[in-house]
């Protein structure tokens, strides 16, 4: 009987998606503890907390935000390659609304007087934020329409906006980098309430996404559509609407990430904002245990941890002294490790080893 119980318990551990990201995060921090002196030092300066750990959290914010949205898309069996481009679009929209002189809008008074004015914004900041997010959601909706009604492969469908998006972002600002002087807007990416303000945005978004998927039927339907869209259709689930939702939400998250990014660098740089972040977001989701390609069961917390793993690796590499150009190679190694860890062979092997251990324990 005890064998049986241990087998069941073992099954539980194996199914737990959080094992891989937690172990990975612990391993990276352990390496830091040994190799990098003072990595865990934290200090308070002017009521702000500083340290490498805080840096990891802060720098991971855009990736984690993207990963939350990407989780739902991947769970439906799709993928969204355009999130980096949507970030750039949202950033451009925000910048042009704060400072629209660039497109030749005739403004009252002396133009030079407002340059460098930390309170100036053409549109009120709440309007700026809402408008940017609305545009981001519209971008996501476009992806969703292509995938669900157009029946286009998600990778191809989102590739369109991935390629076109940066052009659109350039177009919005007339290919000019707009510098943001407004302090209220800059607070999004640079502000502190002991911890960086962007962390509070991440936590709020995570809580919102969790409630939206797990306290409604949306989470179940997303998983169901990912596992078998035909069976979901027969069960009365509107598969198209679920996909529309997933891509729109992913667009929303990309908008939030774009705002964080542009606010922290204070420049609308359509060529650089969110560049290659779609790959980080996808990797974060995969590390978190949601299956790319097949979809199905997803874990938002897993994706968040996955994002932290990526950023922790990156920060640690810098701390150790690895050149920035070599970081991509490290990420490639991570991808390989993740693929191996989630392969069926390794999972079966792990399960068998643990089962044997359980039997031995039960025998003694």
């Amino acid at each position: 009987m005890s064998t049986l119980r241990s087998v069941i318990r073992v099954g539980g551990v194996r199914d737990s998606r959080l094992m891989v990201p937690i172990v990975a995060l612990a391993a990276i921090l352990l390496i830091d503890l040994i190799v990098v002196p003072g990595f865990f030092n934290l200090e308070m300066k002017d009521g702000h907390l500083y340290g490498s750990l805080v840096d990891i959290l802060r720098n991971s914010a855009p990736t984690v935000v993207l990963a939350i949205g990407m989780t739902l898309v991947i769970a439906t069996g799709g993928v969204d390659l355009s999130v980096g481009a949507i970030m750039a679009i949202a950033a451009s929209v925000a910048c042009i609304l704060i400072d629209p002189r660039i497109i030749g809008l005739n403004l009252q008074g002396n133009i030079t007087a407002v340059v460098g004015d930390p309170t100036y914004s053409f549109a009120p900041i709440p309007v700026v934020i809402v408008a940017s997010l609305v545009v981001a959601v519209a971008c996501g909706l476009w992806n969703g329409v292509l995938v669900s009604f157009g029946r286009i492969q998600p990778m191809v469908a989102t590739l369109i906006l991935m390629i076109a998006g940066r052009g659109i972002a350039q177009l919005i600002t007339n290919s000019i980098k707009i510098i943001i002087f407004n302090d209220a807007f800059a607070y999004i990416g640079n502000g502190f309430i002991i911890l960086p303000f962007s962390l509070f945005i991440v936590v709020a978004l995570f809580a919102g996404a969790w409630l939206l998927t797990r306290r409604t039927a949306i989470g179940l339907f997303v998983e169901s559509v990912g596992i078998s869209f035909r069976a979901s259709l027969y069960a009365g689930i509107n598969e198209k609407r679920i996909k529309l939702f997933a891509y729109s939400f992913c667009g929303f998250c990309a908008g939030v990430a774009g705002l964080i990014a542009v606010s922290s660098i204070r420049t609308s740089d359509a060529n650089q904002i969110g560049l290659y972040t779609e790959l980080d977001a996808i990797l974060a989701v995969v590390i978190g245990g949601t299956l790319l390609g097949t979809g199905g069961r997803f874990s938002l917390l897993g994706s968040v941890l996955g994002g932290l793993v990526i950023q922790a690796t990156q920060t640690s590499m810098y701390a150790i002294g690895v050149a920035a150009s070599a970081i991509t190679a490290v990420k490639a190694v991570m991808v390989i490790i993740v693929i191996i860890l989630y392969s069926r062979q390794v999972q079966d092997l792990g399960g068998r080893l643990v089962a044997r251990l359980g039997r031995k324990q039960a025998a003694t």
């Binding site: 169901s224 596992i227 009365g236």
Partner: protein, 506 residues
């Protein structure tokens, strides 16, 4: 003839457990050269597990397997193949877009100067199939042939790649027509003549009697006995499988006749000239509350298309439908669920279960879909509903949190039934609800249908087994060539019904 000297496989005291299930208990199984050995039992009796042990998919916890008198440990399906044990599953796992010859010889294609020698390859493939008395064009894609031919190609491949001594056929006939089944049996007999030992798993008892020499009966993970098929009366076999006698079938008949008095006079659903261009010819249909209407017809006669049309998977291109006298405008699954129509689809794996989700989630799914995204059933409500139906339908599962893919076919079917019963439908369409399901569960489902009818629900019962349709239906609609051809009510003459199904003047 079945002495130890001729036994090619001897499995002794095989034990295997899964979480919550003791799947095999001290099972002994022996297989002689040149015999067709049927393996029968209810769902979850342990047939599949035994086969999975024999073919190296699962490792037994204890017990020995001897092959040709030598004790072996079968490590993997590949290892089993190299030992001469080949398996052909219910679903053909070949590549439908490759040619027949490619499918047969892929991996050992004849080469000529570093290029594939297509001529020799096609000739070899033709010869292999001729050995099985099959004459087809091997240069055509496999997918262009019937499932039966595909299955025989799978058998041929099994013979080619491993020079098999033991051939395991797991439910090979469940998607074959009568003629195709005969064809398969001819091949099986021919192989038997060549000294190959065949394990044949099926739910069709007719076929057990038609083709097998011996039969091993499993029940709850134990062997009940091994019998010469010819000397075993059918009723005894059923009793052995179930562990109880089957007077229930008579009960069902009586039940049907009694319940026919409760059929309402007002129509629940009326279809007038409804059809889908290119898929099903326009038909009229009237359903009453409390009535079970059987759809009979051959595979591909349009039964499933009719069901899908009534449920709103397909949109009608002509005609109109009314429910409770009101015209139906919203043709979609969710629209149907709102009207109180439910469909248990034919293809349980692809259209029914959502494999990775739990039993609980599968059960509440349609109910939740009808409530929409935001009126979320609380977890405790979900458990309450799931537990109620697990009990009501006797679903064998360790818990409501078990992924539904871990359940046996019959129990998966019950989960789908539970999903629809939870929506409290007024019209329940069951498309082949008993396919691949053991005799006991079949009877359970038939009884359930009739009790639902007594509660005033209307049912459409679709089945390839005529006997079953006759036993459960108050009225029978016959389909042929994608059109409704006739309707039978009251005491139906089986002969006449068969004629209607087959068509023609004969």
């Amino acid at each position: 003839m079945t002495g130890p000297a001729t036994d090619i496989v001897v499995m002794e005291n095989i034990d295997k457990s899964f979480p919550g299930v003791h799947a095999l208990k001290q099972v002994n199984f022996s297989l002689a050269r040149g015999e067709i050995h049927a393996l029968v039992g209810e769902n979850g009796a342990g047939k599949s597990t035994l086969i999975r042990v024999l073919t190296g998919v699962e490792r037994p916890e204890s017990g020995t397997i001897r092959l040709d008198g030598v004790e072996v440990t079968i490590r993997s399906p590949l290892h089993a193949q190299s030992l001469g044990i080949s398996t052909v599953y219910q679903e053909v796992n070949l590549c439908p877009n490759l040619t027949v010859a490619e499918n047969l010889l892929i991996g050992r294609q004849p080469m000529k100067r570093r290029h594939v020698d297509w001529k020799t390859m096609n000739r070899q493939a033709r010869e292999i199939l001729q050995g099985l008395d099959i004459a087809i064009d091997v240069t055509q894609p496999l997918g262009s042939y019937s499932i039966a031919i595909q299955q025989m190609a799978a058998i041929a491949r099994a013979l080619v790649i491993s020079s098999a001594k033991v051939l395991v056929l797991d439910e090979p006939t469940s998607s074959l027509t009568g003629h195709e089944t005969d064809q398969l049996f001819r091949v099986m007999r021919k192989l038997r003549g060549e000294g190959i030992a065949i394990v044949f798993i099926t739910h069709f008892l007719d076929q057990v009697y038609e083709v097998s020499d011996r039969v091993t009966v499993l029940r709850n993970g134990s062997v009940v006995g091994v019998y010469e098929t010819a000397g075993l009366p059918r009723l005894t076999l059923i009793t052995l499988m179930l562990g109880r006698s089957l007077t229930e079938l008579d009960d069902i008949n009586r039940h049907r006749i009694e319940s026919s008095q409760h059929i309402g006079t007002e129509s629940l659903l009326e279809a007038e000239g409804v059809g889908v261009f290119g898929s099903i010819a326009p038909f009229d249909l009237v359903l009453h509350a409390g009535e079970v209407v059987g759809f009979a017809g051959l595979l591909g006669s349009g039964r499933t298309e009719m069901a899908q049309l009534l449920f709103g998977i397909d949109q009608p291109t002509t005609g109109s439908m009314t429910m409770d006298g009101a015209p139906i405008r919203k043709f979609s699954p969710i629209g149907s669920i709102e009207r109180g129509v439910a469909l248990c689809p034919e293809d349980r794996k692809a259209e029914g279960i959502v494999a990775d989700l739990t039993v609980r989630e599968n059960i509440i799914m349609a109910m939740q879909a009808s409530r929409g995204w935001f009126r979320h059933l609380s977890t405790s409500d979900q458990y309450a509903i799931a537990e109620r139906y697990i009990k009501l339908l006797n679903i064998a599962t360790p818990s409501a949190d078990q992924p539904v893919k871990n359940l046996s076919g019959g129990n998966q079917q019950k989960v789908i039934l539970a999903r629809w019963l939870a929506t409290n439908p007024r019209l329940l369409i069951l498309d082949e609800p008993t396919r691949g399901i053991d005799v006991g569960t079949k009877a359970d489902i038939q009884k359930l249908v009739l009790s639902l009818a007594e509660e005033g629900k209307s049912c459409i019962f679709i089945s390839s087994e005529l006997e079953e349709v006759l036993r459960t239906s108050h009225r029978i609609v016959v389909m042929r060539d994608r059109a409704k051809v006739s309707e039978f009510a009251g005491d139906v003459d089986e002969q006449e019904l068969m004629q209607a199904i087959a068509g023609g003047e004969s």
